[in-house]
């Protein structure tokens, strides 16, 4: 065991010394390689974390949402609708929700105004998300005015700021009192944006949705699982776009790596001959080359992956925000909770380290099995 370790140490020492001889070439290769891992890992980490975030957020969402449709478009729930539904077996809770979008011309972005179903926001005050806090420079107890679509100006005092742990959805939220909401958007009393239903047994959700659709033909029930699926497919689609763009770069790198690794210079051939003549076995030469492949590809993998981690979870994935998020402009310092998918790491590791090491080995095999006496005549 000790002997084995010492052997590997000697081989690694030699490999490093030998790589250091062509510093520019090898560092260049390492840089390109690490960059590639960085981009791939960034995409993987970013979309995995987004997906995870979406799932986490939707976990708190109601199982079923009922919207009213007029002429194929989402419309307000008129008064009396809740009563019309009446009691349905399996529905734990049913409540009308009030929310809407507000376009802020100051920062050219949409906020979501919302009345928390549990209440808790005083009249004349608002509770805001962190993005708003940042972008509009708001703090606790400061005031802000919004011009309603009617043209009237409404002023609010910031009573609280939402915790930043799930910024993806809460960043652009403005929570307010029901009366303020109705006045601001001119919602007549008794009207709601939609209806949220909580269902205890997930098996019953589809049944209940069918019953609702039958009882209220002008309504459309939306299931939480459908929303989850929609999110997932949106993420997958965006991820796909990035990967498609990247595939060109991937191919270019594969060619470069193959060329660098698989081509064996006359000098290298000579060196292998010398090593064999002075007592290295074919196996030693191959082990040395494996180390070379592993050292380069492993460091590229580690550098690229750590950089990707920092990029996604510390720098907010600045490089592909425009492609991967893109449904709001309010997230300049968007922070994802660090989330790593073990399988994705393993896959990336496998596809970066193994092919390179293999490419290094192919030509060596041939060179290492040549006769050692050729060295005497060079």
């Amino acid at each position: 065991m000790n002997i084995w370790i010492e052997q590997q140490r000697a081989l690694i020492d030699f490999t490093l010394a030998s790589l250091a001889r062509r510093k520019a070439r090898n560092l260049g290769l390492l840089a390109v390689y690490a960059l590639l891992v960085f981009v791939l890992a960034s995409v993987a980490l970013f979309s995995h974390a987004l997906r995870h975030e979406a799932t986490r957020i939707l976990a708190d969402a109601p199982e079923l949402i009922l919207q009213r449709m007029v002429a194929g478009r989402h419309d307000l729930i008129p008064p009396g609708y809740l009563e019309k539904i009446g009691r349905i077996r399996g529905v734990q809770k049913m409540e009308g929700r009030l929310w809407g979008y507000y376009y802020d011309p100051v920062i050219k972005a949409n906020y979501t105004f919302m009345v928390p179903t549990a209440g808790g926001v005083e009249r004349g005050t608002i509770v805001i998300g962190t993005a708003l806090e940042r972008v509009r420079g708001l703090a606790l107890e400061t005031g802000i005015s919004f011009r309603a679509y009617s043209g009237k100006l409404y002023s609010f005092v910031v009573a609280d700021i939402l915790p930043r742990d799930s910024e993806l959805v809460s960043a652009d939220l403005v929570l307010m009192h029901e009366d303020d909401f109705r006045a601001f958007f001119e919602f007549p009393a008794g009207h709601y944006t939609d209806i949220a239903l909580s269902v205890a047994n997930p098996q019953e959700v589809r049944n209940i949705a069918a019953k609702l659709a039958a009882a209220l033909p002008d309504s459309r029930p939306i299931l939480r699982e459908e929303m989850l699926r929609t999110y997932a497919s949106i993420f997958a689609w965006r991820e796909g776009i990035i990967l498609a763009i990247l595939s060109g770069a991937l191919l270019a790198f594969a060619i470069l790596a193959w060329d660098k690794a698989a081509g064996l210079s006359a000098e290298e051939k000579r060196e292998i001959g010398i090593l064999k003549a002075i007592g290295w076995e074919t196996g030693d030469v191959i082990r040395m080359k494996i180390w070379e492949g592993v050292l380069i590809s492993l460091s590229a993998f580690l550098i690229g992956y750590v950089a990707a981690y920092l990029h996604v979870f510390r720098a907010g994935g600045v490089l592909f925000e425009p492609v991967l998020k893109g449904w709001a402009v309010l997230y300049p310092r968007f922070q994802l909770t660090p989330e790593i998918d073990g399988l994705a790491v393993a896959t990336l590791f496998f596809f970066t380290v193994v092919p390179y090491t293999a490419a290094v080995l192919v030509p060596i095999w041939r060179a290492a099995t040549t006769d050692p006496d050729a060295v005497m005549r060079s």
Binding site: E6, Q7, A10, F14, A277, W280, D373, M376
Partner: protein, 225 residues
């Protein structure tokens, strides 16, 4: 120590350019002595050295090392034997460019699994003995011809071989350096190593450091003092 019986070596056997570089060599090389192979170019000196040093196998005939038949050993064992028992100084030195003198000297010990610290200490000792201590970290291509040869000698000795093999060791050296090299060889023989070299340099062949000269021609031994 090394016994060759009816050894023949063919290149490109069975092809139209088949060539017998060695043709019936019978030879017994004694231990602890300096033996020189001498003869015109193409007479088979290098080829014979590759057989003695286990770099190649004879096409026919037997080779014995310390009484053990090595002509039929598989490649793996030959390599091990070569690493443990033989040190080589090649005509072109064959150092690995870009590496330091010390790194070159340590190379043959890599597969042995000896602690790196020990190997490094030994390399330093050898370089010191060959008066190269001050060039230990220099890249080998910056060294002069004589220095390169001494690095090659140090490399040949790192695994403490019983036999040192040198092919045309003085071909690239001037007279002073060649004399110095012969003095080094003599010291090896006196410490109990066996030295086998090839040369057509009269300086080497007539030197008192060489105990025995074997004359070759056309793949045969012609006379044998």
């Amino acid at each position: 120590m090394i016994e060759l019986i009816e050894v023949r070596k063919a290149f490109n056997q069975g092809k139209h350019n088949e060539f017998w570089a060695l043709d019936g060599i019978n030879l017994n090389i004694e231990a602890h002595r300096v033996t020189a192979l001498c003869g015109p170019s193409g007479s088979g000196k290098t080829t014979l050295l590759t057989l003695i040093g286990c770099l190649a196998r004879p096409t026919s005939g037997r080779a014995r090392f310390k009484g053990e038949d090595i002509s039929g050993l598989p490649e793996r064992f030959l390599t091990q034997l070569r690493r443990r028992s033989f040190g080589f100084v090649f005509q072109q030195f064959n150092l690995i460019r870009g590496l330091s003198a010390e790194e070159n000297v340590m190379l043959p010990a890599a597969p042995s699994g000896l602690p790196q610290r020990e190997v490094r200490a030994k390399a330093a000792m050898l370089l010191d003995r060959l008066r190269l201590a001050h060039r230990r970290t220099a890249r080998v291509e910056w060294l002069s011809g004589g220095e390169q040869q001494r690095v090659a000698i140090a490399r040949a000795l790192i695994n403490d071989p019983e036999v040192l093999i040198a092919d045309e060791p003085t071909a690239n050296l001037d007279t002073t350096l060649a004399r110095e090299f012969l003095a080094i060889l003599e010291s090896f023989a006196s410490e109990g190593r066996t030295v086998i070299l090839s040369s057509h340099d009269p300086l080497v062949i007539q030197s008192a450091a060489v105990h025995r000269v074997i004359n070759m021609r056309d793949g045969r031994i012609v006379d044998n003092q």
